[in-house]
């Protein structure tokens, strides 16, 4: 079937099998490979992207379900001149990553959280990241990074796709 998705502000259209998952559409059709396939069973959250502004696990969404919708991947957060999103800056400043595999999903889950709760408590941050696993177990710095991003005011209004 023909699927057309607005990815990071640009239209991406392709003829795909009906069973194509959004994560594969993003990696193979949109050529955006930052979104990782981790567990493939909707547990780990490495494939988290925003669909119409909300975090979703793109390994458990059909490309057909995203047809006509807006998707933002981690590649869509920085400005076109390369200036990083405040959440990305905070992850770097607080060393919120070790191997980096879970990072795109962690960052997108954070952007989704801060869009609805601009100044979460540490407990709220931990609970909002329940669906994202870090196999390096680097959770403390990740939580620190989210709290730092919140302090810097990384709210929805600063989200800059495209």
């Amino acid at each position: 079937m023909k699927v057309s998705v607005t990815v990071n502000g640009s239209q991406v259209a392709a003829e795909v099998e009906d069973r194509t998952l959004l994560v594969h559409f993003l990696r193979e059709q949109a050529d955006l490979t930052a979104t990782n396939v981790g567990c493939d069973t909707s547990s780990c959250g490495a494939c988290t992207v925003l669909m119409d502004g909300q975090s979703v696990k793109s390994c458990t969404v059909l490309a057909a379900q995203a047809d006509g919708r807006e998707v933002v991947t981690v590649e869509g957060l920085a400005t076109s001149s390369g200036e990083m999103h405040p959440v990305q800056r905070a992850f770097r400043a607080e060393h919120g990553l070790q191997c980096g595999f879970c990072t795109p999903g962690m960052v997108m889950a954070t952007v989704s959280l801060l869009a609805v709760n601009a100044s979460p408590t540490e407990e709220q941050v931990r609970s909002a990241l329940e669906g994202n696993l870090c196999r390096c177990t680097g959770y403390h710095n990740i939580v620190r990074a989210v709290l730092a991003a919140a302090r810097d005011g990384a709210t929805a209004s600063e989200r800059r796709p495209g």
């Binding site: 069973r19 959250g45 975090s55 458990t60 059909l62 909002a128």
Partner: protein, 272 residues
């Protein structure tokens, strides 16, 4: 992992969804948020040939005060249920439990109707609507019918819904008794409950203590005859048939049921 090949059809109204399902017969399944169905399809535990996507039917997504009861559209997401101001004041048990389903990403996509129609006894919401004495509304080719929560769940992943019938609404009476509690025990936050319990007033329902969600009838009888919470909770495992799996054997689940029911009854009374 990708699902086996299927044909995707998108419905733009409930009537069209019913037509598409009728044409597909037993090979067709409805797709709402897909957070129960797609994982099963990846594992080839479900292999439908046709998916009828009802995910865009705005007419099935609402939370409405109908006087004596609250009506929740089947396509309302867990996140919408969890953050609804109306539910927070009228049915806090449902709102709270929906906020405990899976994780934020799952709650953005998963729907109340999908969870109930899937009928996994380890899921949170089936036990919650059982404790709340809800009525489920289904539409099929020959019209609409109402099914009580007490008879809706027939077995493991099996409900009263007939092929081609679509769950459209959940009607929940406003509780007479205010106290409520929802408790579940998991190893990781995102896991299904090893055992869970939903309490509203003196109604008690259990998660993952049988092939379906079950009412803890012995506990309810004990409460009705004046037993204290801990005393009544000692009956929590009576007449249950909990599964044995990697997480827990029967005896451990029975123990958890007694402990969690005790905690839930005490918390519920503290809120009454």
């Amino acid at each position: 992992m990708i699902p086996a090949a299927f044909t995707y059809q998108r419905a733009s109204s409930v009537d069209e969804a019913l037509d598409l399902a009728a044409q597909g017969g037993e090979d067709a399944k409805f797709l709402a948020g897909g957070h129960s169905l797609l994982p099963l399809m990846k594992l080839r535990l479900a292999v439908p040939e046709i998916l009828v996507d009802i995910g865009r039917l705005g007419e099935l997504s609402y939370i409405r005060d109908d006087g004596s009861h609250i009506a929740v559209g089947a396509l309302t997401s867990h996140d919408e249920v969890a953050t609804s101001g109306l539910l927070a004041s009228e049915l806090p048990l449902l709102a709270h439990a929906a906020g405990q389903v899976g994780d934020p990403q799952v709650r953005h996509r998963g729907t109340i109707g999908g969870s109930l129609a899937h009928a996994d006894p380890a899921s949170d919401l089936p036990a919650v609507i059982l404790a709340l004495d809800a009525t489920l509304v289904a539409r099929g080719p020959s019209g609409s019918r109402e099914i009580g929560a007490g008879v809706f769940f027939r077995g493991l992943f099996e409900t009263e819904l007939q092929p081609g019938e679509l769950l459209t609404e959940i009607r929940i009476p406003k509780p007479q008794a205010a106290g409520w509690s929802f408790q579940k025990f998991t190893k990781r936050a995102i896991d299904w409950a090893i055992v869970g319990v939903a309490v509203q007033g003196d109604s008690v329902a259990l998660v993952n203590m049988g092939q379906t969600p079950v009412r803890a009838s012995a506990v309810e009888r004990a409460l009705a005859s004046g037993a204290a919470p801990r005393e009544a909770a000692a009956q929590a495992a009576q007449d249950t048939s909990p599964p044995e799996d990697l997480n827990a054997g029967r005896g451990y689940r029975e123990h958890l049921a007694r402990v969690l029911v005790g905690r839930a009854l005490e918390e519920s009374r503290s809120r009454a």
